[in-house]
Subunit: 435 residues, 4 copies
């Protein structure tokens, strides 16, 4: 298939919102390729089970391979039929001698081809999406290993709370990204074949053999029964994509917060992030873009879930309603993964600034520890109260120095010695993610 | 501006999901036109308030008019900067002598231009959207008038309940469509200008005058203050579009239900709705397509609302997150309006079938009325119980015929005489919608 | 724990929107129980790893068991702290001698307890939810087996299209419900423990042992690392619940459509569905209620996904934002499952009406088959055209009877002999669902 | 009406997620009161138009006033009928002599009462919601006026960009809050009356007069036609609430960001925000809670919009699906308003810290201004490049000092003199908001 428009053509917002390799895999050209691949697989499978002559199937396969189609033309003709398969089949048939043309789309319904193509598109787009996700996870793993001993303020409600390590922060990112990758990779993508009412009636006794052969040709999972209006498979995919987008957005938000002028603990190195008016700014534009892409997901997942109650054997709108949000969800999530990978690739970590920020609060981050040390002497309530009211001056408050020696206090107030199991948790995260 | 790709190019799903004239108005080409119009308006306005030489402004305006831009190229270059304004401005400047080039985008921030363009796009796309909505409402009004006296089963929970008229049904459609139209037409669309921090600092003392002149040039509302991160205006537009989609979807669902094989009270006339395997079917494909388009809206509105908490003076992702859902929401709602207009234009009403369906239940639809007639004799409870247990045989049950004469029963069981204020309600609806 | 309000207390809408046993499992009382169970598990686990004296742990466990708490009081006190754990811990401590009180909540952060309780609540509520889902699937399986040979119109876009069997329809329901059940049952629910910054610092060297012991006590999965702000686990649960709701809604919508007055192929038997004004109506109120409950899910899933980007070590709002939608999602999905089970339990199938409806269109449902039989004689195009124009009179049109004998036509127009692999597909569905 | 459970009873999460006075106004008790008020209004209106004896109407009104109902009991009984009106009417009738009982709910359908009650609830809950919103806006206005001359870093993508004033920041908040308030206050809330099929048939010729009288009794807008399945009114309300939540969330997010340990420009004073483990923390818990409440809105709005396509004269699920999200949306938005008001009431502004933060970047915030000053000498490109590469040292870079005198540089680098129209914009915002 040679689509007349180049698959590399992007749109005005695509540089930001459809970055990376996934866009091409969900483009009109990719959809057309998948639709024609589904028709070719159907012809081949029918030949395998004896419903179509091998020579006819070969002719159909060849026609599918050489057909040149303009997506806009097919799309415009889809208006009448309600889907692009009808005009596409007409073109395929027109490209073949009448006798052979009968072997095109034989016994299938439009949704058989559209759903199979949708799953093929998802299958193909998932490859680069998982690759970007994996690469982002690799980078998080590297950060986790490198910064195993880099103290950083643990922040709760955006307030400094207790020390942690940047390695553990990155291990948390890794855990989220790797779980998202595994979840998404595990979603089964099935072929679709049932004919008009889902009984495979047009295929006589050969329906089930054909179903198996067709799915094998497509490289997709064979479903137990046709799923024209049982959309759990689409919901599975949507849920996995939505969770992936959320995992990406979490990391992106952290990067943006760490990169704030007043925090300055990380920065995205290199070009990008320029401003049209502010020459000095170094915006974390990759993380910002990742966040913007990921923000598309929740609403799109909701649209796909809301489309699930599909009527009888073919929905009166719910099925058509899936096409755009499914594409947009794959594309946006892919773009978010691509941007986050780029952000983490470019990430510069400023360990000295992390340490300096830890010192901003005069030891308050270790309040829990000082409180615990005072508890045996003062009791829990009094210890808590003393530490609370000495906030900002834990090293100097006489109610504290009266009970804890200077050396003891120095030790207690050193964040690098109050990191609990941070190191072992990093190791667990790396091991669990197979790194 | 001559975009290199034709604005009429559609995509593979656009014949179904982006039908009608709105698609072109939110296309990349339309966005580029709006972005350049915003730059031209800014130059003109700066000349009006004396910040830029008139000749320079004229040169900028001319450059905006003649610039040929490929949306994909600009989009690809937007990757670095995070938005397409930066590369577009670079091209505009490159098309002008250095001295004049300084008058391009002078003092503005990218979001000033993007937001203004978004509102221009919405403003322009709203025109055909409102026209399709209006035409659909016209058709509903005509149906309401024509079928003022056409009895049809009133159905609750998809069960026949009480008689109504098809005119009143259509009057309800009209009311919903007309309210949506008025709501959407009333959304104020404002220009945006503030510069990097929203203070208009780059414009010295002329900021406020410039703001007024710029909005006047754009034909957009002048905002009280810059709204870079105060997105109530976007939410307003989103809410009105979402409510419009819902109003359209209500009518579409009714049409699909009335058109069912077993109901058969309406049909979409003419071509369309063909099936790839079922030659005889006459699918209500226009209403189905309208429903599919309208189903995009709730999730897109949610995405836009969720993007509202935008940080400080420029959001770290929330703003970028608006571009695609806003476009998709306008486009989908426009397509839904176009499809519904087509559906109602093609609607054939089968009054005889409506009447036949009313007779399916042996008078049960008038049970409320018979019950009321028996109440004075039997008391409320007994009347209710007699009528309930006589279901399907109200005209023949001896417990009823004992109290009501045959003539009285015929009158009571005639749906055409139990229509309450249906006629007056139709008149009210027509009047309220100015028809 | 003895909550002062009875767990059986429901709300005004709960009879419709929170029906069945799940509501109680996500009630305030259930949450309080889970919170106290988490505190008890923490104390026990600390004793196991030697951080707390066994006697103190026992005292804490006993206090958790006997504490009487009013949810509203704790909730009101949560205002200051931002979560109900703080006031609950204060009450627990107040119920113990000062020395023992220190063993309460030792080293934990509020979110450790809240998240663990949330997962406990989900774990407990999942049991009856899966049971209702299973029972609904059982009933679908029984319908599939019983109606293996019951022809019914296959409907696409709500138009009769081709024959299928009601058994295959029910097999499709079964497949969706069973897939939803397996998906939901497989979601891993993990305990949460990390302390203020997720390092387990307050537990010295015993952090990891404690984490394992704590999760074992809770009967929950042990996470690799704390997941305070890595919410993929919540997204997983949300996605599975959303997909479950969709699977339920699909069946509910079919039931409502089959039950229409004009279709009449199924009815919900027994009481219910009464109308306040229409004594005769037999509304499919169970299916309607299931649909209403399931309709809550997409928006709630979106809210949970949108809450995923949680900042640093504790979110500034995103975590709190999960509590209500997670509860509502479990409750609504549980209610939908309960209603659908009830609907299918009450379902009366009218095979005769199914057959009568198949005859409404004068053989049109077999058009595909007649077309195929004419194709060898007339060629594909002419065969399609003849059949299309003979719609409604396939048995009598001379262009057809000229080529097909009366006997042949009777056979071709018998829906019961054009069911393809419907029977085998039912068998596959029953087998795959382990029935 | 005396509901047996106290209207002040809250739930476990309500202290955080349903704070303030709105919760009580949407409670079960408030709904019951509204349902009974609607029945009372209906009786009174029927008396006014002569359909019911005045004495009977008085008896009904009195019964409505004195009926004691447990919401859970009514809710449980709603299971059979599908809504709580049916059992409520049964109780009302049981509380009256048979003859008078007939005057209860005469000719109405359950949805007439439920929808009217929903609008009454919204009408009553809107009062305190608008009050909290107004108070928050007042506080924003006061901050705008007080900090007219307080420079603060304007931040874009969370990076310091250009100076602005905290007054202008607060003026932006005011603008958003005030627009939300006006939008929400303007939503028309209508009564509902139509009877089973929306024709007012049960009221004979008096239907329209009754409709007018009923709405007047309720203090609600009179609709043109019944809107049982035309849900634009609900969508309007939902849209206004969603936009309000977004406006609140924007301010909340800003407060949380300004309150960060490393930024420290604002703090929420007074009690609250304590941590169970970290005695020193002063969490901006009010703003965090506001954000959590507001985050509920987008998904709930989507649910309400998705429920709009309601079938025929009474939806098969879509209507029931509105009850909970509408309540939750009002409650959450009300809670967000209450929290934000509290946050702004408690807000301490640290102008010195704002100034110190402005100095963090060595003049980079004025880069645009220095660049503009160098442009006449160096040309735009070279000026931009010099300033970019001198980042962090604008006052000392010899390429700059060669062209700008020390005095000139001091002036250029003073943020307080590069605030453009900030002051006038504040005045505009105050004026537009009537302050």
């Amino acid at each position: 298939m040679k689509p007349s428009s180049s698959p590399s053509d992007g749109g005005l917002f695509d540089g930001v919102l459809a970055a990376g390799p996934v866009r091409v895999e969900v483009s009109d050209a990719a959809w057309l390729r998948a639709l024609l691949d589904a028709e070719a697989a159907l012809a081949r499978a029918q030949a395998r089970v004896g419903l179509v002559e091998a020579a006819d199937a070969d002719a159909v396969v060849a026609a599918c391979a050489r057909l040149t189609v303009d997506p806009g033309d097919v799309g415009a003709q889809a208006t009448g039929a309600g889907n692009p398969v009808v005009p596409l089949v007409a073109r395929l048939r027109a490209a073949l001698p009448p006798a052979t043309a009968q072997a095109v789309h034989r016994g299938a319904t439009s949704q058989d081809i559209m759903d199979s193509a949708a799953m093929l598109v998802a299958h193909r787009a998932r490859v680069p999406l998982l690759a970007d996700l994996s690469a982002a996870a690799d980078r998080a793993a590297a950060l986790a290993a490198t910064h195993r001993h880099t103290p950083v303020a643990g922040r709760t409600l955006l307030q400094q709370a207790l020390p942690t390590t940047f390695g553990l922060v990155a291990a948390g990112w890794l855990t989220g990204l790797d779980a998202a990758r595994r979840r998404l990779a595990a979603v089964p993508l099935a072929g679709q074949l049932g004919g008009g009412a889902g009984t495979l009636a047009a295929f006589g006794d050969a329906g089930l053999d054909l179903l198996a052969a067709y799915c094998a040709e497509l490289g997709l999972v064979e479903p137990v029964v046709p799923w024209h209006t049982e959309r759990g498979r689409v919901a599975d995919l949507a849920g996995a994509l939505g969770a992936t987008a959320g995992a990406l957005a979490k990391v992106a938000r952290d990067v943006v917060l760490y990169a704030q002028t007043e925090v300055g603990e990380v920065a995205e190195a290199g070009p990008g992030g320029g401003s049209s008016t502010l020459p000095h700014k170094r915006n974390p534009i990759r993380a910002v873009s990742a966040a913007a892409c990921a923000a598309q997901a929740p609403g799109l997942v909701a649209t796909l879930l809301a489309a699930m109650p599909q009527e009888h054997q073919r929905a009166a709108g719910g099925w058509h309603a899936e096409w755009r949000p499914l594409r947009a969800l794959i594309e946006s999530t892919g773009s978010a993964a691509h941007w986050l990978r780029a952000s983490l690739d470019a990430l510069e970590v400023d360990a000295a600034r992390m340490r300096a920020n830890l010192d901003l609060t005069g030891g308050d981050l270790l309040a829990e520890r000082v409180s615990a040390a005072l508890r045996p002497v003062l009791g829990a309530g009094a210890a808590h109260e003393v530490v609370r009211s000495a906030s900002g001056n834990l090293a100097g408050d006489p109610r504290i120095t009266a009970h804890l020696s200077p050396g003891e206090l120095v030790r207690l107030l050193d964040p690098a010695t109050y990191l609990g199991s941070a190191g072992e948790l990093i190791d667990r995260a790396l091991r669990a993610a197979g790194r």
